[in-house]
């Protein structure tokens, strides 16, 4: 028999966002929705050990949460309309409600969405994500609200990741929810041109969430949460290649999580990582996701580049010509100095150091990369490979002076000595 606690955790992970999203749609009350979903999980923890795990755990949770909401609303004597809508709120994956609501009938149709004006069924969780990521909310508030409401992450954990106290984070979340209500932010997935405008903002929130989890001082669970949300989004919006691109990009980057640090916790560059420690199941999933969604947007292109690295048996055996071509495309859709820098590096491997140096000079022309260590280090590497060892050593010293961390600085000083040492031979 399944351990009841494990069953509650699994059902919660699967159903929390669905329950919150459905209750928000009907009641418009975010706090009520969260409290009721939480209450359902608490009751499950109390009752499943003695009563046994129900056949449809998600349906059980939804029913308990909904009944709780009806209770609270009844006591607050809200209009009958909301109560009626709650009563017909369907329970996913069941034809039987887990609990009955006295005096209110419950039809058995299983779907957690309602039809949009265009007639298609929109998943409640998708509305929830788009509302949490509305550009009228501050970016940090969007990330926190998405974690709390869609991900069900405890406020204390979010506060820790944002380096604020729990009460500060609680206030920030409350302010965001108040803004949603007061400003009239709709609970809706935009359609047509509006969707094209809004989707990148949603993906940016997921990306920020991922990097919050992936960075050295981040909350590792956030990377998993970002992947979970990207999977959900990719399933709900299969016709959007950028969503699949983002998911694939996450999977490729995440596949290196166990290999990207040395024994002292210092970051290792790709060529120094032990590739046998990459998560090859994640890489396979990433490739599959990419194959199913051919796109040429920024995330899809970055995912394809990450996929080239992920499938290369070694740094030397990497398909640099293909990566260089992909960077050419990426630089056209997203011409930022950092992408131009990476493009120069890729061409340096694909077409030789002189080609790389020419592109790098163009990328640095604007001056934005002047104090950017990776740009100086890249120029040093390319110069070394072009044969000008003295100049390369000077550039490595310049880069070392710009390094943010001690291990980075040490590695660059070592490279300066290495290139000079080579010339003694």
């Amino acid at each position: 028999m399944t351990d009841p606690r494990t069953a509650v955790a699994a059902a919660g992970a699967d159903s929390y966002a669905r329950i919150v999203a459905a209750l928000i749609r009907v009641t418009g009350d975010w706090t009520l929705a969260e409290d009721c979903a939480q209450e359902a999980l608490t009751q499950a923890l109390e009752r499943w050990p003695s009563d046994g795990v129900p056949a449809n755990p998600g349906g059980w949770l939804m029913t308990v949460a909904r009944n709780r909401a009806i209770d609270v609303l009844r006591r607050a004597s809200v209009e009958r309309r909301k109560l009626r809508e709650l009563a017909i709120l369907s329970v996913p994956g069941s034809s039987e409600p887990g609990l009955s609501v006295p005096g209110l009938s419950v039809p058995g149709e299983a779907s957690s969405g309602v039809e949009s004006e265009e007639g298609e069924v929109v998943d409640d969780r998708l509305r929830l994500i788009f509302t949490c990521c509305h550009p009228a909310l501050a970016l940090e508030a969007r990330v926190a609200l998405t974690l709390r409401t869609v991900g069900g992450v405890p406020t204390a954990d979010i506060a820790r990741a944002f380096l604020v106290t729990e009460s500060t984070m609680t206030r920030r979340l409350t302010r965001a929810k108040t803004k949603i209500a007061d400003a009239g932010i709709p609970y809706r997935v935009p359609t047509g041109p509006a969707l094209t405008e809004r989707l990148p903002g949603v993906l940016a929130v997921l990306y920020l969430l991922f990097t919050r989890g992936y960075n050295a001082d981040g909350e590792p669970a956030f990377a998993d949460e970002a992947i979970r949300l990207a999977r959900l989004l990719a399933r709900l919006m299969p016709e959007q290649p950028e969503v699949s691109g983002l998911l694939a990009l996450f999977l490729f980057q995440h596949s290196r999580r166990d290999a990207r640090r040395d024994g002292d916790g210092n970051l290792l560059t790709l060529e120094k990582q032990d590739r046998s420690r990459w998560d090859h199941a994640a890489i396979a999933e990433g490739l599959e996701v990419l194959a199913g969604a051919p796109g040429a947007g920024p995330y899809a292109l970055q995912a394809k580049i990450a996929g080239c690295h992920a499938t290369a048996p070694s740094s030397e055996a990497t398909d640099w010509p293909r990566i260089a071509t992909l960077y050419d495309q990426l630089a056209r859709v997203q011409p930022t100095p950092v992408i131009e820098l990476n493009r120069a590096v890729a061409h340096g491997y694909a077409d030789g150091p002189q080609a790389g140096l020419r592109l790098l000079a163009a990328a640095r022309a604007g001056g934005v990369l002047d104090r950017y260590m990776p740009a100086v280090a890249a120029e040093a590497e390319l110069t070394a490979r072009a044969g000008d060892r003295n100049r390369a050593a000077d550039l490595f010293l310049d880069a070392a002076a710009l390094a943010n961390t001690e291990p980075e600085r040490r590695a660059l000083l070592e490279r300066a000595h290495e290139v000079l040492g080579d010339s003694d031979e």
Binding site: H134, A136, D182, A183, P186, R188, P190
Partner: protein, 112 residues
């Protein structure tokens, strides 16, 4: 929902001067849809008068005190389904291109 659109100048130098929408079209379009409840251009801050009462005493002064370069030059009250519709209305106002629009929802006072 009702929204107050404050039509403001902006200190941001990079304004979009190409294909600026026409204000006459904007007014006619939103009037025809019954979305624009009321709106007007306002006289410059030089014509403003500040009124305060302190300790029961009426204090009148010339203009606003704050020396600000961002000025409210007009307003429109619009009736929209939600913020997304209000944003759509605001983005087609010429001042969104040359200045900025601030959208403020009306507060629904509870009726008992």
């Amino acid at each position: 929902m009702k929204y107050m659109m404050f039509v403001c100048t902006d200190t941001e130098p990079e304004t979009d001067e190409t294909d600026i929408p026409d204000i006459e079209v904007w007014v006619a379009n939103n009037d025809a849809r019954g979305r624009r409840v009321l709106g007007s251009v306002l006289a410059p801050p030089a014509a403003a008068t500040t009124v305060r009462v302190r300790k029961g005493e009426l204090l009148i002064s010339d203009g606003p005190f704050a020396e600000t370069k961002e000025v409210i030059v007009g307003f429109d009250i619009i009736e929209c389904a939600d913020l997304d519709e209000a944003i759509e209305v605001a983005r087609t106002h010429p001042t969104a291109w040359t200045g900025r629009i601030e959208l403020r929802p009306f507060v629904d006072m509870p009726r008992d």
